[in-house]
Symmetry: C2
Subunit: 313 residues, 2 copies
């Protein structure tokens, strides 16, 4: 009998993005790590709890959009005299890396998250990309979570290295991209980097490789997936957080984080990330359906499955 | 009942490489596309036929090494007053791209392959990286092959673009790396690039992505594999040709090139390429065993397999 679905807490940013891609531009698009994560995870997990901060410029309709997807918004704090985090990014033809045109942290720059009492017993916790000190402070407020996954990025690896190393001793899983893992570990490749990271404390390392897929290292095992083969990528913003949302959403739904659960979770992460890339911002995640997700999961399973049993014809 | 294994013809280079990698250096190491390809394929296919050219400096012991692996060397021509192709490459820490320190084409520069009469009815043919005009000239000498795969590289895409486009109208499959496919097609990503390439004529496109795996596009389907997760890469030279050797070796052994055959062939290509990276030059391919190959195929199948049936615990 499956366990009842577990609560999933995410702490991260809510933002407005201005996006320039070869497919076109979008201004003041809803963005932010916690936003992508929670709207992705909510397709799988019924109890997503969001903690973040916005300014007075954040329209109530976006709060309603969270609620409409069953996301608990009681942890979103509004700073009356502040403005919401804003990012302006520009992608080149290959859509791999965004150049930051401008960045205003605004209220997110002084974000000291307080986890509401009803959220503190969330078995699954995602610490979205942010200061490792802030991530650690969140961790001290939650009560014996079953599985905590922390994201990070090059900026924190460079500027808060010691705090980051301290943080990862206290999480179950670390998620980051391949270049970040190589930078953090000082190792020459992802496999050696993952071995290094596992020796620092976490049981699980998830490596995001964008168009090249993802890898999972845990329990002495390795699992690797290519990306879902998309012919047209409109906007890769938020793909990593949508990936994490699919991954954690599946685990929360399963109520468990065995290696077999995590393998399936990596498939859901891959599929949710692929949808996120198909339109600007969160538009495609809003327009999704459970049937579309399950259809793509089946298609993707076909893309990666091979029957080795017949070596002849 | 499986068909009897089919003959596999390869036309390409034999060389001496001087290699500099973070793991160390190797001088005058046996190399060349046809060399890696045939020594890789011979682990799977019993009838590999090699056509190439060497100088008087090519030691007879390397000819004997081919023979010892059952590779038919009667198509290797020795130019009495010439020297064998030499390449000197240097790899950076990430082992992704080699800087060419020096290159002497020597006898390979004037290579106009003549396919010996007994080789002309080879059902499986690999046109290793070389001038598209030369590749086309080879194709005119073989009689109704079942499956012809052609490799190419950035140099030919830039310098013999028209000849390359002409060539790929006449082959069953094109194999190249992801950057080359994007360059050749002018498309923004591999998936769109493969669609473009398939519209030019070939039934099959195989995309090599190095540490990120490989993709297969054919018959309206897509198959994708990550690379075998190696913690230590000593020398990636020849990995692409070893990959092609595993791929074509499996097809020749199967006597067929259905999509299911090609999926399995991609696994064998991945595994042979991973071995090739574990030591300088061909050393690891020489020291292999069938049992080691099958063991790694099984390990790799585990790395990529996921059971989606249980969504709960």
């Amino acid at each position: 009998m499956p366990l009842p679905a577990s609560s999933l807490l995410v702490v991260g940013s809510l933002a407005f993005d201005t996006l320039e891609t070869p497919s076109g531009n979008a201004e003041n698009e809803l963005g932010g790590s916690a936003t992508y994560f929670s709207h992705s995870a909510a397709w799988l997990a019924p109890k997503v709890r969001l903690v973040g901060v916005v300014g007075k410029d954040f329209p109530v309709r976006h709060i309603q959009e969270f609620k409409d997807r069953g996301i608990d918004t009681s942890g979103i704090r509004t700073v009356a005299n502040g403005k919401t985090f804003r990012w302006h990014g520009r992608y080149g033809k290959d859509l791999c890396n965004a150049e930051t045109v401008s960045l205003q942290l605004n209220v997110f720059g002084k974000f000291e998250p307080t986890i509401p009492a009803p959220f503190r017993k969330s078995p699954f916790v995602f610490l979205a990309n942010g200061s490792p000190k802030t991530q650690r402070a969140v961790l001290k407020q939650v009560e014996k979570p079953k599985f905590v996954l922390a994201d990070t990025m090059n900026f924190w690896i460079e500027t808060e290295h010691a705090a980051l190393l301290e943080l990862i001793q206290h999480v179950d899983g670390l998620i980051l991209n391949n270049a970040e893992l190589i930078q953090l570990s000082g190792q020459p490749n992802v496999v050696a980097g993952a071995r290094w990271a596992l020796a620092q404390g976490p049981r699980v390392v998830v490596v995001k490789k964008g168009e090249h897929g993802a890898m999972l290292f845990a329990d002495g095992e390795v699992f690797a997936l290519p990306a879902y083969p998309l012919e047209r990528i409109v906007d890769p913003t938020g793909a990593g957080d949508s990936f994490a949302g699919g991954f954690m959403g599946h685990l929360a739904r399963a109520g468990n984080a065995s290696f077999a659960d995590m393998k399936r979770a990596l498939v859901y992460g891959t599929v949710l990330a692929s949808f996120a890339c198909e339109d600007f911002g969160l538009r495609r995640l809003f327009a999704l359906s459970e049937a579309e997700i399950e259809k793509r999961v089946k298609e993707f399973a076909k893309v990666v499955s091979v029957d080795l049993s017949s070596k002849g014809r």
